[in-house]
């Protein structure tokens, strides 16, 4: 049987969702029999490939790199899962939205609170520019499934991936499957 192409992506988040993914422990060996990991922060692959079947997207859209990558992901992926609260609600990264646009946030962080040599980070082409507003993934591109939680625990991640591997849709209902925070 042809292996399913699985990608996992880490945008503006703390990587906690990926840690939770690694908590799948020995089931990861079973998963490895059924999927090819074609892109992930835990694999050294530079470019997002074509024809990805399922992609778990951790994190919100906070800078221009996130924005360009999520658009590329949408073009090249059949099924996108918003993975964790940052992807679903913008969560903690989104808390900077209450301060106003990127400029206010940068000034507050790097100038007003800078202890020594306060300066704004500027390295075009290397340090991605902050967007004025941190957005959940589905406000930028279409999302096929939402898996909230901060982070979603391993059992819940498995309950979502397992049916997808069989070509079935996981039922996102009830306390077992829907959990914020």
């Amino acid at each position: 049987m042809k292996k399913i192409k699985l990608a996992t992506v880490w945008l503006a988040g703390c990587s906690g969702c990926h840690m939770s993914f690694l908590d799948l422990d020995e089931w990861l060996l079973e998963l490895a029999q059924k999927v090819d990991i074609v892109y992930s922060p835990i694999a050294d692959i530079k470019d997002y490939p074509d024809g990805v079947d399922i992609c778990l997207v951790e994190g919100a859209i906070a800078n221009e790199e996130n924005l360009a990558l999520i658009k590329e992901i949408r073009q090249k992926t059949k099924f996108i899962i918003s993975f964790g609260d940052c992807a679903v609600t913008a969560n903690v990264p989104g808390m900077r939205n209450m301060l106003g646009p990127a400029e206010t946030v940068l000034k507050r962080s790097y100038l007003e609170l800078g202890d020594i040599t306060p300066q704004l980070p500027q390295e075009p082409g290397i340090v991605p520019e902050l967007l004025d507003r941190v957005s959940p993934v589905h406000e930028v591109v279409n999302v096929d499934l939402f898996l909230p939680g901060c982070p979603p625990n391993a059992a819940r991640i498995r309950s979502v991936i397992e049916p997808l591997l069989k070509g079935e849709s996981p039922v996102m209902e009830g306390r077992k499957m829907i959990k914020f925070g």
Binding site: S82, D85, V88, T89, A90, N91, V92, G94, M95, N97, M98, L99, G100, R133, P136, H138, E139, V143, F146, L147, P148, C150, M172, E173, G174, R175, M177, I178, K179, F180, G181
Partner: protein
């Protein structure tokens, strides 16, 4: 007592004329989701979670403030109602700053509970990220307006059970917010008895005990019900 006969979800029930649809349904063990409703204090129909369909009316009616009438035919679980309830919850999440991961009542939150009940796994409405204040001037408690859904449970419990009327609602529409005293810092309101009834009444983490960490805070709403019942029925045990 005048008795009315009505139908809820094809079940024939009887209720006293003074009862609301919510009370009548509860007696018949028909569950209608609620959020601003709190046993022991008056109802205001603020959250729109208990909307029901009444035959002959094109408008959806809040069950907590609609009195029963003879021959009413009511549905509480139609697809239309489920859709509107989910939308109401999504709007609540979108219009405040509900960051569950850093909230003291995460896991013990009634807003989360109804989100699960109505099947909300994300909000289809764009988040507003309003700039709101946190008041930590009270020596025991705190008020985080970011988490407030304006259910006014705190306002009613403080007025109707404690009799202190510390809380009220300022402004109108989207600009509304809860004020303590005459829009003073909570700690400066002399009327506050520090009883904590508002803390127990709050369905979210908006009013909390200082020092509580994420997922730590629970609210004991049975105390409020007990106080109300004991006072109205003179059931004091000592």
């Amino acid at each position: 007592m005048t008795v009315k006969t009505l139908t809820i979800n094809d079940q024939l029930i009887t209720a006293s004329a003074e009862q609301t649809i919510l009370d009548a349904a509860k007696e018949a063990e028909i569950k209608i989701p609620t959020l601003c409703h709190l046993e022991g204090v008056s109802d205001v129909g603020a959250c729109r979670l208990c909307l029901v369909e009444i035959e002959g009316s094109s408008k959806l009616q809040p069950a907590c403030v609609t009195q029963v009438q003879e021959g009413m035919v009511i549905q509480t679980e139609t697809e239309k109602l489920k859709e509107y309830r989910r939308m109401a919850v999504e709007l609540l999440f979108a219009e405040g700053n509900h960051v569950c991961a850093v909230c003291v009542v995460n896991g013990n939150c009634q807003l989360q509970n109804v989100a699960i009940k109505v099947g909300m796994d994300h909000s289809r409405f764009p988040y507003k990220f309003p700039k709101r204040e946190v008041d930590l001037s009270h020596r025991l408690f705190g008020m985080d307006h970011n988490r407030c859904i304006l259910c006014t449970r705190c306002v009613r419990v403080c007025d109707e059970i404690e009799g202190a009327h510390v809380w009220d609602v300022a402004n109108r529409g989207g600009q509304s917010f809860i004020v303590s005293g005459i829009n003073q810092p909570w700690g400066e309101v002399d009327a506050c008895t520090s009883c904590g009834k508002c803390v127990d009444a709050c369905p979210t983490g908006a009013i909390f005990r200082q020092g509580s960490t994420a997922s730590e805070m629970t609210c004991d709403r049975s105390t409020l019900e007990f106080l109300h019942r004991a006072r109205t029925k003179k059931e004091w045990t000592r």
